[in-house]
């Protein structure tokens, strides 16, 4: 306790030293006066009295010094002085200081930026409280192609989970929708998320203003209330704080704004606003059990594990199958059950490996940068050893020598860290703007929070140990006599260490290059993949149909006709287009077959207008396309693709056979059968790298007696004719989400492209840094060996052989590094394999190219030192020291 008080007093004393001294000197004077008085009383004269008083008191300045030391923290103050010296010394060597600070700043900045994003995405998704307690409810169809992990579930399942309060503290469902906001100059399409009342409770997200939905607002026909996202509040309503309680026009209806969320909660589809889901009793009862259209999240009660939830869900699934609800028998044959998946892997799972790869790559760059800095510090030690030896001879202890060198390192680290953090923040902003929205987790912000700062601090400490402590410790081991005598001849151990560092750098650079090369090859392969349709020149635009205006399918069909009449012949309308990120799928029956034999009858579904296949140049294999004669009233027709033909009618001609969609299974008087009119080529729906294998079933848009909330218009050429056509067909309508189809297809490669670009950047940075390191080592070796080279040349060696010697040394280091790098790459190959499309990491061509590039760069880095070596004048080299 006493020492704690004393410590605080001393720390304060450091800053308040100015206060003590005048007081103390006053006290000393007073003390002296008292002694003098007594001396005078004892009979001395004033001069003698003062002299005796000073003797009695002792040395005034050493008393003051002793008090000063007691009042402050001498070691710390000495260190601060070392820092001041260090800053002076570093300013005298700007090239060294700037290169260290810059290297450190860039490497640290890149690492912090990447980690910051990874941390937000994988560890601490923005705005979510304790994400590890949240699960996403998924469904599994074992016997259907690629539907082992369906991200949606049904209304009845949602209701049952919500009712099971002992396991699930909060349960909520989400369904996406588009709404038209008419309140500004033009109608705007907003991405809405329809959520049940507990949605924000599940996430643990609190509103910034106002409140979130109450349970009574989450009912059909309840008051129309809406919660805005922070971004749309800032952009569309100018962050007006009085927005709460105001009514806004959505789909031509007034909705009351009751709350605004904090920034960063838009994810799961970049929602602009949230509406109540308002499920009706019919939505959560049979026969809805196998209609999966809701994304459901549940927060586990404290103490409940995911395994427990899993067993309950399996039990629930088997109860549903045994309950005899419509569709249960057929579904039971498909190996169906409901299961939980952790929220983080559901929301961000696909991106885990790429993010870890990025972290590894940028970490490698940091290692290389640290090695460079260590090399620079070692070189600096060589030039500084003389000065340090003198200081040691003058009495500086080993600690002081270490402290001086460490002060320089700490100063450089500190500057590098500050610059690095600034770069990291800027880098994060750039990355967040630039990274594709589709597959990289959305809702990423550029921000440096506690985790990221802790990571930065940890990295700085680790690299500090790597590049600072070792050289500093070595410096303090200066042997006085040898250094002062020999005039600073290099210790060969130092040179070996630097060479080892360069070899390590070259190895790491090669690893990155091989990795980047593999990703590049894989990407190029993917770009060649044919999706089955011709996207050249095709523009797509979406239209949304507010239910209040388009409650009947006739009105929608009339709209389609009106629009297509005003567009060129090679245009069409579809319920959705490929690569738009959505697929619908459903089951069907085949007339004359029972469902027990053959593969489960399930396929992707799309509703298209006549001209769709022609617009996208999808090949016709047999039969015919849809035509204008297929209308409501004429017989229902369907078109299948080759995959379906192969899967369900092997060896037969499907044209003319009849199927009935599951949706019409219980249609009255046995109607609902559609005749297969043609077979078209199979197309890829979402990803060039992944073909689900499912066939696609097409129905004629004009025949379908149901309304669609959204439809896509497909045309060749620019979007303006479409805008005009839509406006004239219905002035209240407008188009949104306008993109070229080839843009969509290329966009599906967005995440891969981003990863590739980053990896290539890191590989180039690694190569550049290694080249710098190699240059440093080789040119230092040249300068150290001047005399030897002078001797060689005097003895007849040709200039070219001297430069060849230097370049060979550089190539030797690089070659060893390449060999080590190949071994490391072989060990790490598996990490990257999952990201590759039909490519292996160790492709001979890629590896050969990488090694060649490395050697070429090494040769280039050795070029200048080689030239310098060749231009050494033997006379001057031999003469001076």
């Amino acid at each position: 306790m006493r020492s704690l008080r004393r410590a605080f007093a001393r720390i304060a004393g450091m800053f308040l030293s100015g206060r003590h001294e005048p007081r103390l000197s006053g006290e000393f004077e007073a003390h002296l006066d008292l002694i003098i008085d007594e001396n005078i009383r004892a009979g001395m004269d004033p001069a003698e009295a003062r002299r005796q008083a000073l003797l009695t008191f002792g040395n005034l300045s050493s008393a003051m010094e002793a008090c000063r030391e007691q009042g402050g923290l001498p070691r710390l103050e000495a260190f601060i002085q070392d820092l001041r010296h260090a800053s002076r010394a570093l300013r005298k060597k700007p090239a060294f200081s700037i290169s260290v600070v810059l290297t450190l700043a860039v490497a640290l900045g890149a690492n912090t930026a990447i980690f910051g994003l990874v941390d937000q995405a994988l560890l601490h998704p923005n705005g979510v409280d304790h994400p590890e307690r949240i699960i996403s409810i998924r469904e599994h169809y074992g016997r259907l192609l690629n539907l082992a992990d369906l991200g949606a579930t049904s209304g009845p399942a949602f209701a049952a989970i919500r009712a099971e309060r002992s396991l699930f503290e909060h349960t909520a469902a989400l369904s996406g929708a588009y709404l038209t906001y008419t309140g500004s100059s033009r109608p705007e399409h907003l991405q809405a998320a329809q959520v049940s009342s507990e949605w924000f409770d599940v996430l643990g997200a609190k509103p910034l203003l106002g409140r979130v939905f109450a349970p009574e607002e989450d009912q059909p026909n309840a008051r129309r209330v809406v919660v805005l996202s922070y971004a749309s509040w800032a952009n569309r309503f100018a962050s007006d704080p009085s927005i709460i309680g105001r009514k806004i026009q959505l789909d031509l209806q007034p909705w009351t704004v009751i709350g605004v969320m904090k920034p960063g909660i838009e994810w799961l589809g970049q929602a602009d606003l949230w509406l109540p889901l308002a499920l009706s009793p019919a939505d959560i009862a049979p026969p809805e059990n196998f209609h999966q259209h809701l994304f459901v999240l549940a927060r586990l009660r404290p103490g409940v594990s995911q395994a427990k939830a899993n067993s309950w869900l399996r039990l629930f699934s088997s109860r549903v199958l045994a309950s005899g609800v419509p569709g249960a028998k057929e579904t039971a044959a498909l190996d169906w059950y409901i299961f939980p998946k952790s929220f983080v892997s559901a929301a961000f799972g696909d991106t885990r490996t790429p993010m870890l790869l990025l972290m590894a790559a940028v970490g490698i760059v940091l290692l290389i940068a640290s090695a460079n800095i260590a090399g620079l510090m070692l070189a600096r030690n060589a030039t500084r050893s003389h000065e340090l030896a003198v200081q040691a001879a003058l009495g500086a202890s080993r600690w002081r020598l270490f402290s001086r060198v460490a002060a320089e390192c700490i100063l450089l680290s500190g500057l590098g860290t500050i610059a690095g953090l600034a770069l990291a923040y800027a880098g994060m902003r750039v990355l967040v703007q630039w990274a594709p929205n589709t597959e990289l987790p959305n809702g990423l912000n550029a921000r440096l929070d506690i985790d990221t700062l802790a990571f930065t601090l940890g990295t700085v400490l680790a690299t500090g140990v790597l590049f600072a402590i070792l050289p500093a410790w070595q410096a303090s081991r200066i042997s006085l006599s040898s250094t002062l005598q020999a005039g600073g001849r290099t210790v060969s151990g130092r040179q070996r260490m630097r060479s080892a560092l360069v070899i390590a750098e070259a190895a790491l650079a090669l690893v990155l290059m091989v990795g980047a090369g593999a990703l590049l090859r894989s990407f190029l392969q993917l770009e060649q993949v044919q999706p089955g349709f011709d996207a050249r020149g095709v523009t797509t635009a979406a239209v949304s149909f507010p239910p209040s205006q388009y409650s009947h399918s006739e009105k929608q069909i009339a709209f389609y006709h009106a629009v297509l009449d005003r567009l060129p012949a090679d245009s069409a309308i579809a319920s959705d287009v490929p690569f738009s990120g959505q697929t619908n799928a459903g089951g069907f029956e085949i007339r004359g077959r029972t469902s027990s034999n053959g593969p489960p009858t399930h396929a992707d579904i799309r509703f298209v207008s006549p001209g769709y296949f022609e617009a996208l140049h999808i090949a016709l294999k047999r039969g015919r396309f849809f035509s204008s004669t297929d209308r409501i009233g004429t017989g229902c027709v369907a078109i299948i693709d080759e995959n379906m033909a192969r899967q369900f009618w092997p060896g037969e001609d499907p044209v003319g056979k009849q199927i009935r969609p599951d949706a019409l299974r219980h249609a009255p008087d046995g109607s609902g059968w559609c005749t297969i009119a043609g077979i078209v080529g199979h197309i890829l729906q979402t990803d060039l790298a992944l073909d689900s294998g499912r066939g696609t079933l097409y129905y004629a848009l004009y025949q379908i007696p149901r309304t669609f909330p959204v439809a896509d218009i497909v045309t060749h050429g620019p979007a303006d004719p479409v805008r005009a056509a839509v406006a004239s067909a219905d002035p209240a309508e407008s188009i949104f989400d306008v993109q070229s189809l080839s843009g969509r297809v290329a966009g599906s490669l967005g995440a891969r492209r981003f990863l590739l670009q980053m990896m290539i950047s890191f590989a180039i940075a690694a190569l550049f840094l290694s080249a710098l390191g190699l240059y440093g080592v080789i040119s230092y070796a040249v300068s150290q060996r001047r005399r030897e080279i002078g001797v060689r040349m005097a003895l007849g060696a040709h200039r070219t052989s001297v430069s060849r010697m230097v370049v060979t040394e550089g190539l030797r280091l690089a070659a060893i590094g390449a060999a080590v790098g190949l071994v490391i790459a072989a060990a790490l190959a598996r990490m990257i394999e999952s990201q590759l499309y039909r490519a292996r990491v160790f492709d001979i061509l890629t590896v050969a190219i990488a090694v060649t590039i490395l050697l070429a760069v090494a040769a280039a880095a050795s070029f200048l030192p080689a030239r310098r070596a060749a231009s050494i004048d033997p006379m001057t080299a031999l003469r001076c020291d």
Partner: protein
């Protein structure tokens, strides 16, 4: 003058505390004189060496100080012992007595000769 010994480091602090406990508030000169007197002149300290000790004691909270007027009307800084200081003094005093007793027993041991 009898042989003076240098003052052991930690003990000076205790002497200061005891002096202040017995004499009450004192200025630096008074403490120095008293220490010299109490030891009968066997301990000779430079008065200046008192001040780091006083500073340390004040940092620890064992004494406090304030400006005052000395007996011959000169301005001086007076030190007084605090409650914590008294406690510390008591504890150290006991510790000393125990140590002394043990050491005397050791020194009382006779050899075989």
């Amino acid at each position: 003058m009898p042989e003076t010994k240098p003052v052991w480091q930690g003990t000076l602090a205790l002497m200061v505390l005891k002096t202040l406990e017995v004499l009450g508030p004192q200025h630096g000169y008074g403490i120095a004189k008293r220490v010299g007197q109490t030891s009968g002149g066997a301990l000779d300290i430079n008065h200046g060496t008192l001040y780091p000790v006083l500073m340390k004691l004040e940092q620890e909270g064992a004494i406090r100080s304030e400006w005052g007027v000395s007996e011959n009307n000169r301005k001086a800084r007076f030190y007084s012992i605090t409650k914590a200081g008294r406690r510390q003094l008591l504890a150290e005093q006991e510790h000393w007595e125990v140590t002394t007793r043990i050491m005397s027993q050791f020194f009382a041991l006779k050899g075989n000769a």
